[in-house]
């Protein structure tokens, strides 16, 4: 039989039993809709999570630390604790020489307590010394000012501005508004504790006058929450805190921020740095972990939908088996007028696959509709939930149906129909014509 002839006959046969075909297909509709909605939901959650992962610039960065973890492992296994190899200027240079590394920027935090003061307002600040005078290499966007970091200036992450408060504010007073800090001078108050010689610790304060050179636009990255100063100035502050000069060869830097030329090479560079005996951490690793979690979630959700499809498959098999009982004489007739076993097999397989396909179309449509409903009700519900939250990106419940899922659902439901039809179709094809014709 030619495919066209086969399809026409299959459609004719399905049309003869519309009611039963539709009832059987409903099972497939529900199963397919379940697969589409659940997998789309997992996909939506994944996209949502990815959107919360901070800015894109951070994706091409690697944070490198001395390998404290390895030392802790050695200690845990009963070994003797030794400091891990420090990140010396030579190491920074070596990392900077790795192919596709755009920049290797050493960083060290201030070891004293730090308070920023401007007018009546003050804020606790995490002050970091950064080994570059041009922050543009980090791919950050500035809310105002310049990327250039020179002696006596700071660049502030936008989120830091939210920390300013008036310590002398009385309860009934309105909080003071923070004026634009760009190009303003502010005071960095440093506090350290040193022994006075008789075993008592006394507080020692020092104040630095600094100009705000730029403000980094908040992009949900770690850069939003700190204050950046030239590395050498921070090393000087630390020398004041520790009472001795910084020795690059011995002390090393706290960490290095490595910027890769592109995002694709980040994991490769990170593994090279790990091989050098340092701890390289990238947000990509975390995202990969999260992504694989969502893949597992998709598989589980898909599996739940798959169970519904399995039940539908049994329905199809049952319908087709019943059809053979009812149409035994017809099968006998088909064979009497010259249909081959192959013809009969194709007709019955085609009918069951068509039921799967019809159910698949219905299921995809129902799934898309349900997805839309979830999106609508989800956004209304989550908007209510988010209104009380402070800062950060607002979470949404959303369903995203990728095109491949639609094609997959259609192909899968058709396949389910086809497989369900195998047993009945083989039975139909192997009927002896004369016995089939005698059937009452």
């Amino acid at each position: 039989m030619k495919p066209r002839e086969l399809i026409s006959l299959i459609l004719l046969n399905l049309n003869r039993r519309k009611g039963r075909v539709l009832l059987t297909a409903i099972g497939v509709v529900i199963g397919t809709a379940a697969v589409v909605v659940l997998v789309s939901l997992a996909q939506g959650l994944k996209q949502n999570a990815s959107a919360q992962f901070g800015n894109i610039a951070e994706m091409s960065q690697i944070s490198v630390y001395p390998d404290w973890e390895a030392q802790m492992m050695i200690e845990a296994e009963g070994g003797e604790y030794t400091s891990p190899p420090p990140i010396t200027p030579d190491v920074v240079e070596e990392i900077g020489a790795i192919p596709l590394v755009k920049a290797a920027i050493p960083r060290t935090g201030v070891y004293a307590m730090t308070i920023l003061k401007t007018g009546k307002l003050e804020a606790w600040a995490n002050v970091i010394g950064i080994g570059t005078d041009d922050l543009s290499v980090l791919g950050l966007e500035m809310a105002s000012g310049t990327y250039e970091l020179t002696k006596g200036t700071v660049i502030i992450g936008e989120e830091v501005l939210k920390n300013f408060y008036d310590p002398n504010q009385r309860a009934e007073q309105e909080p003071l508004a923070l004026s634009d800090l760009q190009d303003q001078h502010m005071t960095l108050e440093l506090t350290k504790w040193s022994e006075d010689g008789s075993g008592n610790y006394i507080e020692v304060k020092k104040a630095l006058k600094l100009r705000v050179a730029g403000i980094i636009r908040a992009s949900r990255s770690e850069w939003d929450y700190s204050v950046y100063m030239p590395l050498n100035e921070v090393l000087e502050i630390n020398a004041w805190v520790n009472g001795r000069r910084f020795d690059p060869k011995k002390d090393g830097y706290e960490m290095v921020t490595v910027v890769a030329e592109d995002r694709e090479s980040v994991l490769n560079i990170a593994s090279q740095i790990n091989d050098m005996g340092f701890m390289a951490y990238t947000p990509q690793e975390f995202i990969q972990g999260v992504n694989s979690f969502f893949v597992v979630l998709q598989v589980i959700f898909g599996g739940v939908g798959g169970i519904a499809l399995l039940v539908a498959a049994i329905g199809i098999a049952n319908t087709m088996t019943m059809a053979i009982l009812e149409r035994t004489r017809e099968i006998g007739l088909m064979k009497a007028v010259g249909a081959t076993n192959q013809d009969v097999l194709s007709i019955f397989l085609g009918e069951s696959a068509s039921i799967g396909f019809i159910g698949g179309i219905g299921g995809v449509l129902l799934g898309l509709l349900l997805g839309e409903l979830i999106n609508i009700f989800g956004s209304v519900y989550m908007a209510g939930q988010n209104s009380g939250m402070m800062g950060g990106g607002s979470a949404t419940l959303s369903v995203a149906t990728p095109p491949w899922l639609i094609l997959f659902a259609l192909a899968f439901s058709t396949l389910i129909g086809l497989i369900s039809g195998v047993y009945p179709a083989v039975q139909a094809a192997s009927l002896v014509p004369v016995q089939a014709l005698k059937n009452e």
Partner: protein, 234 residues
Amino acid sequence: MDYIHTEALNKHYEMGHTIVKALNGVDLSLPEKSLSVVMGPSGSGKSTLLHLLGGLDRPTSGEIYLDGSKLSQLDENDLAVFRRKTVGFVFQSFNLIQSFNALENVSFPMRFMNVPRKQRIEEALFYLEQVGIADRASHKPSELSGGEQQRVAIARALINDPTLILADEPTGNLDTASGYSIMEILAGLNRNGRTVLVVTHDPRMRQFASHIIYLLDGSIVKESVYEQAVQQVS
């Protein structure tokens, strides 16, 4: 060799612990363009013989030669092609597909021959006209009388232009007048050069026959040849 030739044809069925010998050593030779009538009481093996000759079933032992083909040498697929091209079946209970109209029922076998739709309709109408019910082409079986349904079934048997027509009690479900007109149609097909074999209880069929075979308990007990009728055909 004759058009139909069987050698020591046996067909045995197992029913519980007993073996039923539906056909028992049947040797039969029938020439081309003959009209043979197989008669005998119920259970004598008439229908079994017809089914074996038409390739709807296989014998337990023995050989069937039909139009030069040795049926035992054909596999399932070849046998289907043989039924499609060589044989037209007419059944007592018509075996029409209830949801198809007369035209669709008649053209149904052509679907397995890959005949284009337009040609199918033309040929089906032609054969419906041959059996005298072209005006009922769009009627479903439930809207047709028994005689009309059997005419549709005969048109269906003719659609692939077979050389052999096998009719199993074609008048069994019909009133006297309809039954007779069906016999006349079958005789007319024979006159037009087809080999026809009819299994029947109806004694009126004898007047059209060139060969009459009497079966009893699976064996041929009497064979009559009416040369006149054969000559009339040739």
